[in-house]
């Protein structure tokens, strides 16, 4: 494999990892607060549709981004009401929202654009464009690192950098602030938070809302950054893969970065039959398509007993003596 191919592969990895990272961090906030969120997928999907639609109609990607976050927040709100207020089954709520998203996105996009449930291609200010980082060209001459900086790190869209920034920010919030302490506590033992006079409901809603914002960013990136249009079912299971990454990352921010980069790499690899051919392996196209999902299962199977989820995860909080 040539250096060029490798750099291309890493560039694609970073771009594919970005929505996974946003979604994984979304799941992290939610699950750290004790709310399972199988609905990351649906939130990403509505956000992708809303972002691309509004961007296409307004011509501004930033309006699109806001719309994406808004749509995702609405879904997050429903999940919160179902699982926090009414103590419903969090898995089922998430699954329901995924179906809802998959139907509503097509309905709305079809109504707006009549293009088979998708949006027209976005261009110009209606999409996120690549940002050249300083000295990218100047440093290109430095062996290995130079091209890596120029090809992989530089030239990404704004949301990629925001996603990378979200990792240290999340770490800081979680481990250095009062809010983070309470968030971690409520996912481990909500009774401890409640008896300390802090509202379990408010904390959990806030976490669900943060998850909504992050899924909004993930979805918006899908349709206005990664590609420049919305297509039906375009998230293709990324919400679930992000959950697998979250388990792999043991619910920790920095690990989440590495885990999503790994899964992003799998996805990037699946797009490069030529890489396999160069390695002398012949793989049917269908097998390549299935590769990220197969690897997800293998990763999930491989981390036997080592991952301890937040103790109160998935259980509605009921006051008891």
């Amino acid at each position: 494999m040539s250096l060029d191919t490798l750099l291309q592969l890493l560039d694609t990895t970073l771009r594919f990892a970005t929505p996974l990272l946003f979604a994984c961090l979304a799941g992290l906030y939610s699950e750290r607060a004790g709310i399972f969120d199988i609905g990351l997928e649906g939130k990403m999907l509505v956000a992708a549709m809303a972002a691309a639609s509004v961007a296409a109609l307004s011509g501004s990607v930033y309006f699109g981004l806001l719309a994406g976050i808004g749509a995702s927040l609405v879904f997050a709100g429903i999940h919160g009401v179902a699982s926090i207020t009414f103590r419903g089954n969090q898995l089922i709520s998430g699954v329901a929202l995924n179906f809802l998203a998959s139907g509503v996105t097509v309905l709305v996009a079809q109504k707006l654009f009549r293009q088979g449930g998708g949006t027209p291609a976005l261009s110009g200010d209606a999409r996120f464009n690549a940002i050249e980082l300083p000295f990218a060209e100047a440093l290109r001459g430095v062996p290995v690192l130079g091209p890596f900086y120029a090809e992989v790190i530089s030239g990404q869209t704004l949301l990629v950098y925001i996603a990378l920034l979200a990792v240290p920010v999340t770490w800081w919030v979680l481990y250095r602030t009062r809010y983070g302490l309470r968030l971690r506590a409520v996912g481990e033992n909500p009774a401890a938070v409640d008896t300390a006079g802090v509202s379990v409901v408010a904390l959990r809603f806030s976490a669900v809302a943060i998850a909504g914002v992050l899924c909004g960013l993930a979805g918006a990136y899908m349709s206005t950054g990664l590609v420049a249009a919305f297509g039906r079912e375009m998230t293709a299971g990324r919400g679930y893969i992000a959950l697998a990454a979250l388990i792999f990352a043991k619910w920790r921010p920095w690990y989440a970065l590495w885990a999503t980069l790994l899964f992003g790499f799998f996805q990037a690899l699946a797009l490069r039959p030529d890489v396999f051919k160069a390695l002398g392996v012949s793989i049917p196209v269908a097998a390549l398509d299935a590769l990220p999902y197969v690897l997800t299962v293998i990763v999930l199977a491989g981390i036997v007993g080592k991952a301890t989820p937040p103790r109160a995860g998935g259980e509605p909080y009921v006051k008891e003596r």
């Binding site: 898995l91 329901a96 179906f99 309905l107 097998a287 299962v297």
Partner: protein, 362 residues
């Protein structure tokens, strides 16, 4: 917790949930500038307005009974099987391989063999996530979803590279032989008095009803069912009672997968007569809504399956006669799952005052 009379819990809660799902769907339609009234009439007429319509509704209902039962059996074991879609597609592969393997002399023999093939393939596909869950603790919801994606790719590979006859363009198997053609409802004596025109509903409907009865007997009459239900309520307590978690998880999931797989007898063998891409068309997912709506009871599953059959058929009619996309079906499906499975406590809270007041009045 809210305590409602049993009948209200069983009958009223699902119906109110359905009503609320309908109301919200109507708002969605209004929001995209369509007429809910027109949609409703089109759907009701298209799904229930004539024997011909019923022939379609029952055809879909047959598939949904199977997938609904699949989710039900897993639910009773405390397992959330979202992999019905993949298991159904694999079941379709089993049906196709059996149907293409021999020049079957009569449909009865073929039906028996194909059912077995469908069940085996579906069960096998469910066995892997079941084993990963029981032995390694891999989250079964995520693994079964992953297996849906993997199944889709696997079927494409089989259709494109293995089973496609030479010279055929579209990714599908060859047509099955005449000995595999299942009698449709209009070909069955007595029923042909009702169904005059050819309909896709076929004898598999009776197989589905048989399966529902068998699941009921299994869950509430056999030791296996007892163990499944006990395990589903508490894994810890089940261990105390000498129930093996590995065994129950494997058996329940494989039964679930087998039921999901068996739906393919209906569509692959009974309707299309060959295996095509995405043959199950989301029926595996609808099983979740059907099971929840049917309160995880076989009778409830049958009723909910008919209801969703009507929704499906009615939705297809929408696509034909109006500008409303078929995806409205998925919206309703999602809403029903939301209200019956996650917001059921809210529905109960809404109903509770009615019953409280009545009790006071008595």
């Amino acid at each position: 917790m809210m305590q409602l009379p049993r009948w209200a819990d069983i009958v009223l809660v699902p119906l109110i949930s359905l009503l609320m799902a309908g109301i919200i769907a109507a708002f969605v339609l209004l929001a995209i500038g369509e007429s809910p009234a027109e949609a409703l009439t089109t759907m009701v007429n298209g799904a229930l307005g004539s024997p011909y319509a019923w022939g379609y509704t029952l055809y879909y209902a047959t598939s949904f009974i199977f997938t609904g039962l699949a989710v039900t059996v897993a639910f009773h074991a405390g397992l959330f099987n979202i992999g019905g879609e993949g298991q159904a597609q694999l079941g379709g592969l089993g049906v196709a391989l059996i149907c293409l393997a021999l020049p079957w002399p009569h449909w009865t023999v073929a039906l028996l063999a194909a059912t077995l093939g469908a069940a085996l393939f579906g069960a096998a596909w469910a066995a892997i996530p079941a084993y990963l869950q029981a032995k390694l603790g891999s989250h079964i919801v995520i693994t079964t979803i992953m297996f849906n994606y993997i199944a889709a790719s696997f079927i494409i590979y089989m259709l494109v590279d293995v089973l496609r006859p030479a010279g055929q363009m579209d990714p599908a198997t060859a047509r099955f032989g005449p000995g595999t053609a299942l009698p449709t409802l209009n070909e069955i004596p007595l029923l042909n008095l009702i169904f005059a025109k050819p309909v896709p509903g076929n004898v598999t409907l009776f197989l589905a009803l048989l399966a529902a009865w068998a699941v009921w007997e299994m869950l509430w009459r056999t030791k296996l069912g007892y163990e499944i239900r006990a395990f589903g309520k508490s894994e810890k307590a089940a261990r105390y009672a000498g129930i093996s978690p590995l065994r129950v998880t494997m058996i329940a999931m494989m039964m679930s997968g087998a039921l999901a797989g068996m739906m393919s007898v209906n569509n692959v063998m009974g309707e299309s007569g060959r295996l095509v891409q995405n043959s199950s068309e989301g029926a595996g997912f609808i099983g979740i809504a059907v099971a929840l709506m049917g309160r995880n009871h076989p009778i409830g599953v049958i009723l909910a399956a008919v209801l969703f059959g009507a929704l499906y058929q009615g939705g297809a009619e929408l696509g034909l006669w109006t500008s409303i996309p078929l995806e409205l079906r998925i919206v309703v499906q999602g809403l029903v799952i939301l209200f019956t499975g996650a917001l059921d406590q809210m529905v109960r809270m809404m109903l509770a005052p009615l019953f409280a007041r009545r009790r006071l009045a008595v």
